[in-house]
Symmetry: C2
Subunit: 190 residues, 2 copies
Amino acid sequence: MSPRPKFALDITTIIEAAGEIADQYGMQEVTLANLAKKLGIRPPSLYNHFDGLTGLRKKLAIYGIDKLYRRMADAAIGVSGTNAVIAVSQAYVNFARFHPGIYEATLLAPDPEDVEVQEAGAKIVDLTVRILQAYQLEGDHALHAVRGLRSILHGFSSLEQKGGFKMALDLDESLVIIIQAFLAGIGDGQ
Amino acid sequence: MSPRPKFALDITTIIEAAGEIADQYGMQEVTLANLAKKLGIRPPSLYNHFDGLTGLRKKLAIYGIDKLYRRMADAAIGVSGTNAVIAVSQAYVNFARFHPGIYEATLLAPDPEDVEVQEAGAKIVDLTVRILQAYQLEGDHALHAVRGLRSILHGFSSLEQKGGFKMALDLDESLVIIIQAFLAGIGDGQ
DNA sequence: CATTTTAACTAATGATGTTAGTTAAAGCAA
DNA sequence: TTGCTTTAACTAACATCATTAGTTAAAATG
């Protein structure tokens, strides 16, 4: 492939390829060398599309956060109350299950303070706030509850992914029971 | 330093040095090059003490899990019931706060299925089981509750470390409220 | 049609992990 | 003490990686 080929790669194709490598082999295999090989170009050519490995990780993180948000938002359609929280929670852990590498990328943003990364993440926080509004928590309690739900979802997904749950006990059942317990508890606390 | 110096390094010194690098600069800076520099030796010499970067990560993971376990076990002395769970939880998140790199290492074991890594982690699970026994959960409910508590602790610590909690709201207060809600909920569910 | 832009390329550099083989001091046994 | 073995350092070399600089030719633009 000589300079300026007929069909230049676009950034979406590249990020999707990176996501496939991540899901199949893990984020540690998302290298410029591997990505270039998969795309049939040479590593330095990638610098025309993003700013090095750091830039790639940032783009992949945002791509993943957006994708996760869409799954959660979809799951929230047409449900409310406890059902909504459970549906969104299941969407979250399923995303982490079926896209382990992309989920990993989500947490590996080079700079979590980056504006674009923040904005992507804020949508998920907002969604969580909204589905917890049904519980009519007062003041700070709503914010504490959001932190709790996010902790459960991330912790559960992360531990499941890292093989942290060894017992022969249904994982989906665990999740529902955990969420129900938490929701019952934050209701009581009022 | 020529071959066979008077005072050879021992593995504990080496792992502690690696832990310091991790806590100060993050796990991505725990390289054989950086570790050798800190110890005043050349990178290949490290192969006399562990099996390459993979071996170092495994040893550091076990070192971290043991250290975390001791903090949790200490916190569990002389307390029971909800107080015990809260004390242990605070010990957990404080460990992650003051040893962010070592906590990170804890999750970066090259092979989570490794026997030694499993055994180290099992002690934490056992401790969690024991402090939840006060709640007299029946059968599988106890196991689901353990998964829930671990998810909260890991998720909370991980999100806090990655700057996931942006709101100006006291973190320690959040943790206590979250734990109390969860405990109240698993009691109800019986 | 001439110019500019673009997205690929080659070549080279520095950092890393790793292996192989070497060496000299410590440890130990006769 | 003497002599052998073990050990923990070393140098040298290599492969892989990210990255930079400079080049090129085709597409895009006027």
